[in-house]
Symmetry: C2
Subunit: 198 residues, 2 copies
């Protein structure tokens, strides 16, 4: 396993478009950015229990084991998947939640963005919440470029929905940037009042 | 690894809808038929070389290693993928080729069905060749029921294309049945004239 192996897990419920999002993310990194990528869905008894997950492994070397082992970035689109997979996250891993649905968050450091609310408000369709989180993800994942992500999204979505999906992606990128700015401000403020111990 | 582990590899070129077919096959076996399934895409330098592949592993037990090791069934939708992956097939594995594009076939026992030609002639659209081969596959893969396959196809295809995809699936099932009947007849004939040595 290459030392730069980076594991992303997308989790949520069956209808949230996670498989499509994982395929798009894998194609962005694999086809458009030219990295080695393995993308896996697993189905079992839990597939009927309301939790769905897809893993994307990105590496500069060939990938021996294509399932996530210790997750670098976990996206949780509902409360149940956040509860179920948080323990798979590395101690310094990144948790990103859809705060439309996830309210009990096990770490203060989580990235909280209301993907589904943004999809409804900015693109008019909740079903593009998956594209919104792909936009935000490009702001926090060091291995996928915005350009590759846009090409991969447009290569996979149904004809006639390109504008809708482009808006959703852009809304996600902007939400990611806003969250980053707020984090920086908050950190600065906390540091000023002596709260920051990092 | 469970002794009933069954490995299917779908291969061809980038535009042939193999990822979607693999996701549908995995959901048929995993969600609708209730088996353990792992479904994997790998991208690397070969993704830009015109060969695409997706693996589907089906088992009655939890799947430790989600990539195909020794393939039970290989679907090759173009010549290059047939050449590249035939060596991964078990000696008694099943090779199924799209005879629209694959003419050099490394074994006499291959299932040769012109999926793309059938898609064009029976459904009017070559891009449903992937659904045609899923139909044929249900006739040769012991682990996926027709009912589960139909439910999985209809759960994944774009709204408004249900009839088109249902026709494509049905055309594939019928082509699979015809091939089986011909095999039986051929075997009987060869046996009558003393050619059958199995």
């Amino acid at each position: 396993m290459g030392s730069d192996r980076y594991e992303i897990r997308l989790s949520g419920s069956g209808g949230q478009g996670l498989v499509l999002a994982a395929v798009i993310l894998a194609e962005a990194a694999g086809i458009h950015d030219g990295r080695h990528v393995a993308q896996t869905q697993s189905y079992g008894p839990e597939a009927r229990g309301g939790v769905s997950r897809s893993d994307v492994i990105i590496s500069s070397e060939e990938i021996d084991y294509p399932k996530a082992i210790r997750v670098d970035m976990l996206v949780a689109m509902n409360q149940q998947s956040c509860n179920e997979y948080f323990s798979a996250l590395k101690p310094d891993g990144v948790l990103m939640v859809d705060s439309t649905f996830v309210s009990e968050i096990p770490t203060e450091k989580a990235i909280r963005i209301p993907f589904t609310r943004i999809a409804r408000e900015k693109a008019g369709k909740t079903f593009v919440a998956n594209i919104v989180f792909l936009g935000a993800l490009t702001e926090f994942c060091p291995l996928v470029s915005r350009k590759a992500m846009e090409a991969a999204v447009l290569g996979r979505v149904p004809k006639g929905t390109e504008d809708l999906n482009r808006s959703a992606l852009q809304a996600g990128i902007e939400a990611g940037q806003r969250f980053k700015e707020e984090m920086t401000t908050r950190k600065a403020t906390r540091s000023e009042v002596g709260l920051d111990e990092d």
